[in-house]
């Protein structure tokens, strides 16, 4: 075997350090609570309700991103226009803006002091302290993740495939559903996963818009502040375990599909 040089060992060491950095706090947190505490927390209806709320609002946010973000992602992948870079920067803005600022911004627009808020009030739509508000915030922070992943997916498909499809008689719609989508769906799914992951873990923006109904991170924080580590760790363990399980299932599903094709 060829002797490995210093460069190789340095890269391996960095890798080990990073993995340890990520895993050690998580392992510590996951193993800290006792089984009885975990069982008690599982029976706590408020906790389970908040975890379910987190999952379902994140899912909604991902769905909305998918429906509205796909056309934009496709447009960005296929066309060039003046100001395209500006549009791409705007889409990335939610990543850059500090989370509480996002919450404050959305709250300012949603109140009666803003014309949009007045329209909402007339329509009976409530943003502050509502599931609608939570989904709004989560969609805001999750959109860039979906759009960028989907855009990359579309870019990796040669436009020539679409050109041939159209020359053979398919409209843009047919081309999209028969050619582009079947080839890009994996990237779109990855985008959905990333968007949901980002949405589930959002705290700073949501807590400003809606304290009640409580999503899991808010409940975690409230428990921590009010009762300390002992009472918040079990909630964290349940939240992380459920999320990991969901994402793992999703990953396995996509892997199985790849094997089939």
């Amino acid at each position: 075997m060829i002797k490995k040089e210093l460069f190789f060992w340095i890269t391996v060491s960095c890798g080990i350090v990073i993995l340890a950095f990520i895993l050690l706090p998580l392992i510590e947190m996951l193993t800290a609570p006792s089984f009885s505490m975990l069982k008690e927390t599982f029976k706590d209806k408020d906790v389970m309700r908040s975890i379910w709320l987190s999952i379902y609002t994140a899912g909604l946010a991902a769905l909305i991103s998918f429906v509205f973000g796909t056309p934009l992602a496709y447009l960005l992948a296929r066309t060039n226009f003046t100001g395209k870079k500006l549009v791409e920067s705007i889409i990335d803005l939610p990543i850059v803006i500090p989370h509480p600022v996002v919450g404050i911004a959305i709250l300012s627009v949603a109140g009666k002091n803003h014309w949009i808020g007045q329209v909402f009030a007339e329509l009976g739509v409530r943003i502050m302290g509502s599931v609608t508000g939570i989904v709004t915030v989560l969609t805001f922070v999750g959109l860039p993740f979906y759009i960028n992943a989907a855009k990359n997916g579309f870019e990796s498909i040669s436009p020539r495939l679409e050109n041939v499809s159209r020359s053979l008689g398919a409209s843009m719609f047919s081309t999209f559903f028969r050619i582009t989508f079947p080839l890009a769906w994996r990237s779109m799914l990855i985008g959905i996963i990333m968007c949901s992951a980002r949405a589930i873990s959002e705290f700073g923006a949501v807590v400003i818009v809606a304290y009640h109904p409580m999503i899991a991170p808010v409940m975690l924080y409230e428990r921590f502040e009010a009762y300390g580590l002992k009472y918040s760790q079990p909630v964290a363990v349940w939240l992380v375990s459920i999320c990991l399980a969901l994402f793992l299932i999703l990953r396995i599903l996509t892997l199985r599909n790849r094997k089939e094709t």
């Binding site: 020539r160 041939v164 159209r166 020359s167 053979l168 398919a170 028969r178």
Partner: protein, 345 residues
């Protein structure tokens, strides 16, 4: 059949200006030119995948300039074939049938014929990723022809192939064309492809069409230095015309006819220059003595560089003749050519 009139296209770095082309029904038309000339852009414009800034395109007398690609009845086969990777060979070929009214019996027959001609029977259930380059190309052709297009556009179909196969594929293309009533429009940067396949051709350079005509026209009577160079006329000189003579400095070349201009260019094919060790007494009105400046090996033949008064001519000679004549660099040699072999413009 296809009329391209005064078309201007602006696409990124490509600017096509005042493109005019007329292609007849069932013709095999070749669009030649170096890479970057804009040939693929023009092809895609005819297909409707790129829009024209101005000008019109008519296909069978219908104005298709504003029509989307799916309505034009123009199929395109790309250089990299662009087969749908997630569909089998059969599904690829039958793809276009989803979008038209079809008569099952008729299309079934057409499918079988296509598969037979292109020898795809054993590949129908495979995915494109498991096919060789040549097999890919056959599937792409089948897919394009399956929808009975009026026009088939081919973008450099031979460029990606091993040179050994080129002749075979050229023949296949020729027979496909003959056996169908589709107009073929092919783009290539290789002059030899055009020579063997084209009924008529156009030479494109930098977004402009330099010359259109039959292959013999372009081959023997290029109307610009670019075209002349492109078709391999290696003896291209800027000259002054005096009566029936063309003058390169002191060197006078007999043309046998009087040009209209006072200066221009002459071009002589290297094959038309005959070299001999002694002065030839012949009907060739141009005979000169010069020095062999260099010998270039082209595999099957040698190219001889002949120098005379600072002017370099190039001639071709078979390897056999080369050895029989015992030619080497630095030798004095006589070279001659007919005045009719000289093309001037």
């Amino acid at each position: 059949m296809i009329r391209v009139e005064n078309v201007n296209i602006h696409l990124g770095e490509f600017t096509l200006r005042d493109i005019n082309l007329a292609i007849d029904e069932n013709e095999f038309f070749v669009l030649m030119g170096p890479t970057g000339a804009g040939k693929t852009v023009l092809l895609e414009a005819i297909a409707g995948l790129i829009s024209c800034k101005s000008g019109t395109i008519h296909i069978r007398d219908k104005n298709v300039t504003k029509m989307p690609p799916e309505k034009r009845g123009v199929s395109i086969v790309y250089q990299d074939y662009a087969l749908f990777p997630h569909l089998t060979v059969r599904e690829n070929i039958e793809y276009g049938l989803h979008f038209r009214k079809i008569d099952r019996g008729e299309t079934g027959k057409r499918f079988n014929r296509m598969v037979e001609i292109l020898d795809l029977g054993h590949l129908l259930a495979r995915l494109p990723i498991n096919l060789s380059g040549g097999e890919n190309q056959r599937v792409a052709m089948a897919r394009a022809l399956m929808v009975n297009p009026r026009v088939l556009l081919l973008d450099e179909p031979l460029s990606a192939l091993d040179p050994g196969f080129r002749e075979e594929i050229r023949n296949r293309l020729k027979s496909l064309h003959k056996n169908s009533d589709v107009t073929f429009l092919m783009v290539t940067h290789d002059f030899a492809d055009a020579l063997s396949l084209a009924d008529r051709a156009a030479v494109m350079n930098n977004g402009l069409i330099e010359q259109t005509g039959s292959m013999s026209d372009i081959f023997q009577r290029p109307n610009s230095t670019f075209v002349a160079d492109f078709v391999g006329m290696k003896n291209l000189f800027g000259v002054n015309f005096r009566d029936t003579k063309a003058c390169i400095d002191e060197l006078q070349i007999e043309l046998g006819r009087t040009p209209d201009n006072s200066h221009g260019y002459i071009a002589i094919r290297p094959e038309d220059i005959v070299i001999s060790k002694e002065r030839l007494v012949s009907s060739m009105q141009n005979s000169f003595t010069g020095i062999i400046k260099g010998v270039i090996d082209h595999g099957l033949f040698y190219e001889i560089k002949l120098g005379l008064n600072n002017v370099t001519f190039r001639s071709l000679i078979t390897k056999r003749s080369f050895f029989e004549m015992g030619i080497c660099e630095g030798m004095d040699i006589t070279f001659s050519f007919k005045s009719t072999a000289i093309h001037y413009f």
